[in-house]
């Protein structure tokens, strides 16, 4: 027990420091700009306020980013999550819209099961392409990224399916114990994924495969299965996010639902400290990353800047985070700081290697 605690302390010590710092700075800046920013009030037994909104709105992104974290940790990437969001949302909404009683719980549950089912199939498709056929992940998932939008529109027949279902809407807008249900779902998913990876040996094996695939193979790991599983997990997470996004607006739009969520999710993962090259993953970092992105979006909204222009800020954040993480950039900075440059460094022609 003390061991886990010390480990936890070690993790918070450095891994989450920067994300937390960024989040705190953003919240502080917002509070200065708009003193009421952090205030939360109880209304009708529910909590309301900007922080609560940020939590609620970030829930889908957290979900998608959780799955993405695991995929990236294996050394892969999943570009198709945006399409998955659209497909699963559309499937569930279509089924519910066809029911005589849209408020019936069994109907909603069946709809959700169908959405999840189709996501499982698509996730397995990605997994087979990557783990069995051996196509590069970025290319393999590009296929569904392109075709998936079409599939989503095929399901909705190009329409925006509007539903009027209380239970379904609750996924996005409902409250439980004064808190938005969405954030509770996201939190539960995070705990589930954490349990799934950390209570089993899945997490360690994934990190091992992503960290050094050849060494893992020689240690007897059959990486195919875990990689396959990672893509399925990512699809399931995306599906739940899809339910949430469509429930928020009580309608499914094959075109717009989950647009660019894959990019935000990748960004959240990278901000959270998981390296794009794979290896160690940090679920808590990813959640923070998602919160940072949502806070950024909300702040920009609050300043009356159009959400599209928020992309400008996002671009700056992406570049800053990547530069901080890039070893080449760090090396350059430290090199400049140390020792007066005697001669301009020759362009790196070969990595200096010390004979073992």
């Amino acid at each position: 027990m003390t061991d886990t605690r010390s480990r936890y302390r070690a993790v918070t010590g450095h891994q989450l420091f920067w994300p937390v710092a960024v989040l705190v700075v953003m919240l502080a800046a917002n509070t200065i700009y708009r003193p009421g920013f952090l205030s939360v009030e109880v209304n009708n037994g529910h909590l309301y306020g900007t922080p609560i909104d940020i939590l609620r709105l970030s829930a889908p992104l957290i979900l998608v980013a959780l799955g993405m974290t695991v995929v990236i940790s294996t050394g892969g990437i999943d570009l198709s999550v945006g399409s998955m969001v659209a497909i699963s949302g559309a499937t569930a909404c279509l089924y519910i819209s066809e029911q005589p009683d849209q408020n019936s719980l069994p109907a909603v549950l069946t709809g959700l099961a169908m959405g999840l089912g189709i996501a499982l199939v698509l996730g397995a498709w990605n997994g087979v392409l990557v783990a069995v056929i051996g196509i590069q992940p970025i290319i393999a998932t590009l296929i569904l990224m392109v075709a998936g939008r079409g599939l989503a529109q095929l399901i909705t027949e190009g329409q925006i399916i509007t539903i009027n279902s209380g239970p379904y809407r609750a996924i996005g807008l409902g409250h439980v114990l004064t808190l938005p249900l969405a954030i509770l779902i996201a939190l539960a998913a995070a705990l589930l994924v954490a349990a799934f990876t950390r209570w089993t040996a899945l997490g360690m094996i994934i990190e091992s495969v992503g960290g050094n695939a050849e060494a893992s193979r020689l240690a007897g790991i059959r990486s195919g299965r875990v990689v396959f599983l990672a893509y399925v997990l990512s699809a399931v997470c995306a599906a739940v996010a899809g339910f949430m996004i469509t429930a928020n607006v009580s309608s499914a739009d094959g075109n717009a639902a989950g647009l660019w969520v894959e990019l935000d999710a990748i960004l959240a993962v990278v901000i959270g400290g998981t390296a794009l090259a794979g290896g160690r993953f940090h679920l808590s970092g990813t959640i923070l990353g998602a919160l940072i992105i949502q806070t950024l979006t909300t702040s920009v909204y609050a300043m009356n800047i159009s959400p599209q222009t928020a992309l400008l800020f996002k671009a700056v954040v992406v570049i800053a985070v990547c530069l901080i993480q890039a070893p080449a950039f760090r090396a350059r900075i430290t090199r400049q700081r140390r020792a007066a440059p005697t001669s301009p460094p020759t362009p790196a022609r070969e990595k200096e290697e010390v004979p073992a």
Partner: protein
């Protein structure tokens, strides 16, 4: 045959890296029209010397003269420009481009900025015909065999009026016919007056083509010899170094009764196992409790044998039987299930997962065997890790330290622990003591002896003969990708005889069937 004046002279070359003295006061001469072999075991400083010569590294001391003038190249490109070209072990060309382009890219014949393809092809054909090669120069390089690619690389190298051609292990992935082709071209270039520096691990090849031999050991010059005056045995001795005095200083393992061990069915019996391009078919029997030493020079096929046994590479012929039952070891996972462990010599690329902790690295193989659904209970993990950190004296003794922060020797121990935890019946150790200090080395050797006493079979691969001799019950000798002898490690076996076998490749000492 040779001019009296060397085209290239390196004098008093020294080079250090943090913590390592790679070269110390090395002299080297190269005459026009000779093939000069540079020999030495791993860490002898061959590649460092070449990199100093071609300007990849700066020297800490010493001078390089080319054709009488002192030179100091800023990089391989500048060296090439001055007539010193290098062809590396891995063909460093672009297989997607045509043969002609690979020869000329970067200096294509052009008119008004446009590449003159016809002219380029014509010149490529001319150059290749000088090497007696008749290739379709507009075909992509990838459609030709590695040997041809290697020769195209040579064509590229000599096109710039090379005076010195460095061939860095060009033959390591070629078969006999291909080597013969390469040699023909080397002889031709030599007769044209080009000085060839030839690095290889194959003794036969050295004696087939080299006019002179320079031997390095531990970053120091051992000597320069005309090939005719250096018998193979002497060469091997000079490369490996006879450190018999040290050997005698340490207690030897009492030689155990090999005959008793070898009664009954062998734990692993291999017949005719082979993989083309890696190792010739070989047979080998390993019994429980037996330590089999695999001796041979670097590149002689030691690692390839281990990889086939472990299923890391797929054999294309032959059979493996365990306890008399035929068994396929097609993947490492299968091999581990059958009770085999394999400590790779390439610690960083094939051993540790640098980001993960000591604990995770240790438990990886066991966990892999259990499957991800059955995690090892935390208490058991801690017990196991604790046990091996203590037993192997791993420093720092922190199970949660990322393994990349450990020293090489400690990383090696972590890997060893990874396999000991799986309680294998056969443990393959590939160069387990390389690059670790003498204390750790003795500990490791003791451990191997203990394990075999406990009934574990060990296949012990090492470049250090005394180590192999001290530990093994049986020594299997590899040479030029062939298993040439099985020697019982009785009182009559000593380093000299093993070296003789390595040098001559004779089968006469065969004891096992």
């Amino acid at each position: 045959m040779t001019d009296s004046r060397p085209v290239l002279t390196m004098t008093g070359i020294s080079k250090s890296f943090p913590g390592v003295r790679a070269l110390h006061d090395v002299h080297f001469r190269l005459f026009p029209g000779e093939v000069h072999a540079l020999m030495g075991e791993n860490g002898a400083g061959k590649s460092t010397l070449i990199k100093v010569l071609t300007g990849v590294y700066d020297t800490d001391g010493g001078t390089v003269t080319l054709g009488g003038t002192e030179v100091s190249f800023a990089g391989p490109m500048q060296a090439t420009g001055a007539g010193v070209s290098t062809v590396y072990q891995e063909v460093n060309l672009c297989t997607n481009l045509s043969v002609a382009e690979n020869i000329f890219i970067g200096r294509e014949p052009r008119r008004l900025g446009a590449v003159r393809w016809g002219e380029m092809r014509r010149r490529a054909r001319a150059l290749l015909s000088r090497l007696d090669l008749d290739l379709d120069v507009s075909a992509p390089l990838g459609s030709y065999s590695l040997a041809i690619q290697q020769m195209v690389a040579i064509a590229r190298a000599i096109d710039v009026q090379a005076r010195v051609l460095i061939l860095d292990e060009p033959t390591s992935s070629l078969d006999a016919d291909e080597v013969a082709q390469l040699f023909r071209i080397m002889r031709q270039l030599r007769d044209e007056g080009i000085a060839i520096l030839f690095v290889t691990h194959f003794l036969d090849q050295v004696y087939a083509i080299a006019d002179r031999i320079t031997v390095l050991r531990n970053g120091q010059l051992v000597g320069e010899y005309p090939t005719a005056e250096l018998p193979q045995l002497t060469l091997v001795e000079k490369m490996i170094g006879k450190e018999l005095d040290i050997l005698e200083g340490i207690d030897e393992q009492p030689k155990r009764d090999v005959a008793a061990l070898e009664k009954g069915t062998p734990l692993v019996a291999v017949s005719d196992l082979g993989r083309s391009g890696a190792v010739e078919p070989f047979s080998l029997a390993i019994h429980a409790g037996e330590v089999v030493g695999l001796a041979g020079l670097l590149g002689s096929g030691r690692t390839e044998v281990a990889r086939l046994l472990f299923g890391a590479d797929r054999a294309d012929r032959g059979e493996i039987a365990m306890d008399g039952q035929p068994t396929g070891l097609s993947t490492p996972a299968r091999a581990i299930e059958r009770g085999i462990g394999f400590c790779s010599e390439n610690r960083r690329a094939e051993g540790i997962v640098a980001e993960l902790s000591v604990r995770e690295n240790m438990l990886l193989a066991m966990q892999a065997a259990r499957g991800w659904l059955r995690p090892i209970p935390r208490r058991r993990q801690d017990e196991l890790v604790e046990k091996y950190i203590t037993a192997l004296q791993i420093r720092p003794a922190d199970p949660e330290a990322p393994v990349r922060n450990l020293s090489g020797g400690n990383q090696q121990k972590v890997l060893l622990a990874r396999w000991l935890i799986t309680e294998p019946r056969l443990l393959i150790l590939d160069e387990p003591t390389r690059g670790i200090d003498i204390g750790a080395k003795t500990e490791l050797q003791k451990l191997v002896a203990q394990l075999s006493d406990g009934g574990m079979a060990v296949l012990f691969i090492s470049a250090e003969l005394e180590e192999v001799l001290r530990l093994s019950h049986k020594v299997v000798v590899m040479r030029d990708r062939r298993m040439v002898a099985h020697l019982a490690n009785d009182d009559s076996l000593d380093a000299d005889r093993v070296m003789q076998t390595i040098a001559s490749g004779s089968h006469r000492e065969e004891v096992n069937r």
